[in-house]
Symmetry: C2
Subunit: 139 residues, 2 copies
Amino acid sequence: MEITLKRNNEHVHFTGTNSDGNSVQIDGSAQIGGEEKGMRPMELLLTSVAACSAFDVVSILKKQRQSLEDVLVKAKADRASEGDVKPFTAIHLTFEIIGEVHQEKAKRAVQLAVEKYCSVGASLNPDIPVTHETVFPVR
Amino acid sequence: MEITLKRNNEHVHFTGTNSDGNSVQIDGSAQIGGEEKGMRPMELLLTSVAACSAFDVVSILKKQRQSLEDVLVKAKADRASEGDVKPFTAIHLTFEIIGEVHQEKAKRAVQLAVEKYCSVGASLNPDIPVTHETVFPVR
């Protein structure tokens, strides 16, 4: 797997591109010249954790022939507050499941996705707890 | 820090959005219905590692009053080939440094960025080696 990162201004607005030509915009905090032209790197990391888990939830529920209408994920993370480097100290994922889905199956799918199958999660420092909850909003 | 992930189709095309409204597109492999509408989650993770390091390289060289004209990063990663979960097993970052930059200072900036300051790198499993090289292409 390979990605390329190019700079767009004299500060830290970068474009990341994969081998298919898909791209993402990344920018930094105002302190280092950021102009809110893209996600921050740590937000991108959090998004990758959430997306990886969401993919697995969709796949698992599809195999179980559950009528998943929609899934929305909210991801929150805490970071170290001291020191030169501020890694995540905790991640929490909330899955909103919409559709004619068996609630216990959905909860189990989320658990498997987050705790077992997500390759992004498996690439994180195991000291960072990744917790999750599954809710079933009525639309 | 918080991001939200919304699904765009019945497969795994998602949009991730941060609190400033910046967004990224994420999609999966063809096997799970992906249509190349965005980066894969593991590509997003790799991009976050590269961007975080690139930000720090820019900041360090700016503090040292080096005339960095441009910086380009190529990031490659290997993944586990067996098992249900396929985390990264190695990451390699190549920094292309353009401008009137002292080469030893640039190399040192890359080393500090990758090995010490990058918060994304510090959130990764320490078992994943992150190597780097710095090159100075003539334009």
